[in-house]
Subunit: 346 residues, 2 copies
DNA sequence: AAGAAAAATGTGCTCGAACACACCGTTTTA
DNA sequence: TAAAACGGTGTGTTCGAGCACATTTTTCTT
């Protein structure tokens, strides 16, 4: 039943040589109808699975996979991705795979394109990229396609037919999860949706989350709540946020659509004694610290590490084991509070 | 830097034959001090990592791993485990590994021991087991130890020095997570902790969860709450639970320590119109269905599938890649509500 | 029918680790 | 002194897939 057949076994059973079996298995032609039928008969009876170990031992082809992602120096948000990629490198170091990371400045489309050029120069077999800039992403994916380089994306979902595979999260749904939690904490009152980001690269990102968040309240017809959107920049939080709180005495909850919840929590703790519910994203150290202090109530874990890991590993397994690359992998939307946070930080 | 060295390379560099290098690498002796030093010099300079593919291709040794777990026929709780094991089988089918599942009747220690005997007869290299029965588990682990069979456990944590490795969840903490959620739903009132199980095999299990749950409320000194423990059997829920509700008009929340939340939800929906907060365990279909209906508020995901998968895969990787088996792997305590449930059911 | 071309088939080497075995030189033993 | 024992070393084979190349068989051509 679970006996493992080799090409040699098949050859013997069909009364031909292993070379002929090999040609049939790989459709290399040059096989007589008689031999073809004999071999197919055998193949239909037994359950042949090529030994992947032997195959990968033989193959001298080295697969090169490049990762195009923002430099964590500019935004620590990307740090877990580096670890995820490192995990993949460790796991596959025994195989003929080279995985390279190429950083770009997330503030600069120029840097994005330049790093892209550097990758093209390496002529990799596949690229995993964080498609931060919509227009430019479409452009470079077109280039990769022309060069026959396989592309996988992660973190940011880009609507385009040219993108065949994506690893990430359903941002709309994650907004809804945040809303459901907010609805649990608060009976009523005003809720602010705060978009805070140095640049506005994440615009689509944040809007999706807001859309999900609002949809929840609209759907449930929770008229005791009022929702306000607020856009802040890193530089003006300390001015604008306290002012906003004074102007809106009914404010009782804040949903932060980026990983910068700690900035809000920090400013808030200085500005007011009022208890305001905070829900944000990502288990970065500063956020977890405020979670432990009780100033942030929930964090939604986007699991960038696993996103990056899966982004790479699906590509590697495609080359090594001929596995299909799934069109979309949506990671679960992990709900984190002070009680379960420790199990997620790695 | 990342060049991969082979034994042949080392032999050449040290000016000896690959046989000698092999003897040094495996401490097989029969090597002159002079040759030993030459080879060690080379090994100190370069970073040799044996090619695991080649090693596993050569080795004809077939590793046999047996899993001892309750038959899902008796309790569907164990069904995801079977899938997790199947995943491991698929992943490692290319290697010389045989993974066998052996079921026992979770109601019967006799069946447990008998299945154990059947496994011993197979003389496996390692065993993964769900240690449902404390005394018997200690006993059979002793036997495995004497036979030199490696043992890994999952799902149930057993306090014993003879157990060297475990994959599961921190049940005390999961009780705390449940409590923190309950505290969010309810401002005050009576909360029932319901232990419901056909047999009482899970006694320690359930007590740990209760302990964690209670610890949260004690710690926070939430005197507006009162906690009551209730033990029910499958057969008497429909009688006892409605009676309990009438006797306790202040009851506003129930924490079910097993995967049987659906039984409570079902009985409850027939017995009363009162809105009672329900928190339970495990994403089995019936539970998810009540979650979607809004009758169950939160479920805690124990991820048995991954438990079983990791239990097996750590063993396999130990044999194939000489990886260490971690002493304890504690899976995250996933918080599930109606908004994020769909991402966890697989 | 002979020779050339084409088609079909088989052989043999490679990948890297592991290990059995053969070999050689020195020392020990009968 | 010859043979056995031993420490040390190198050679060769194996695992299964993949592919280049050699060899055989068939078909076509003149």
């Amino acid at each position: 039943m679970d006996k493992k057949y080799t090409i040699k076994d098949i050859a013997q059973m069909a009364g031909v040589s292993k070379g002929t079996v090999d040609r049939v298995l790989h459709n290399r032609g040059k096989v007589s109808p008689a031999a073809l039928e004999k071999i197919n008969e055998v193949l239909n009876v037994i359950d042949y699975e090529p030994n992947l170990i032997a195959r990968n031992l033989k193959s001298t082809k080295v697969y090169r996979i490049c990762v195009l992602l923002p430099d964590p120096v500019f935004d620590p948000y990307w740090l877990p991705c580096v670890n995820g990629i490192q995990d993949a490198i460790t796991e596959f170091k025994a195989y003929n795979v080279v995985i390279e990371t190429h950083y770009f400045n997330p503030e600069s489309t120029k840097s994005f394109l330049k790093t892209h050029e550097a990758i093209v120069a390496k002529s990799p077999d596949a690229v995993l990229l964080a498609p931060l800039f919509h227009k430019e992403t479409i452009e470079i994916i077109k280039q990769y396609e022309e060069l026959g380089i396989m592309v996988n994306t992660f973190n940011n979902q880009v609507e385009s037919s040219s993108i065949k595979s994506f690893v990430g999260q359903d941002l709309y749904k994650s907004g809804r999860v945040a809303a459901s939690l907010m609805n649990l904490i608060l009976p009523k009152g005003q809720i602010a949706i705060i978009h805070i980001d140095e640049s506005l690269k994440n615009a689509v990102h944040m809007q999706e989350k807001e859309r999900g968040f609002r949809s929840y309240f609209e759907e449930k017809d929770l008229s005791d709540f009022s929702l306000t959107t607020l856009k802040l920049k890193y530089t003006n939080i300390e001015n604008k946020l306290p002012a906003f709180i004074i102007e809106n005495p009914d404010l009782s909850g804040i949903f932060i659509t980026t990983s910068k919840a700690y900035q809000i929590a920090s400013t808030l703790s200085n500005a007011t004694d009022k208890k305001i519910a905070l829900i944000g994203y990502d288990l970065i150290d500063k956020n977890v610290s405020f979670l432990n202090q009780g100033l942030v109530h929930f964090l939604i874990h986007q699991n960038q590490k696993r996103q990056a890991y899966l982004g790479v590993s699906t590509l590697v397994e495609h080359f090594l084991f001929r596995k299909d690359i799934p069109e979309t992998i949506l990671l679960p939307i992990d709900i984190i509070n002070v009680e379960n946070a420790s199990f997620y930080v790695s």
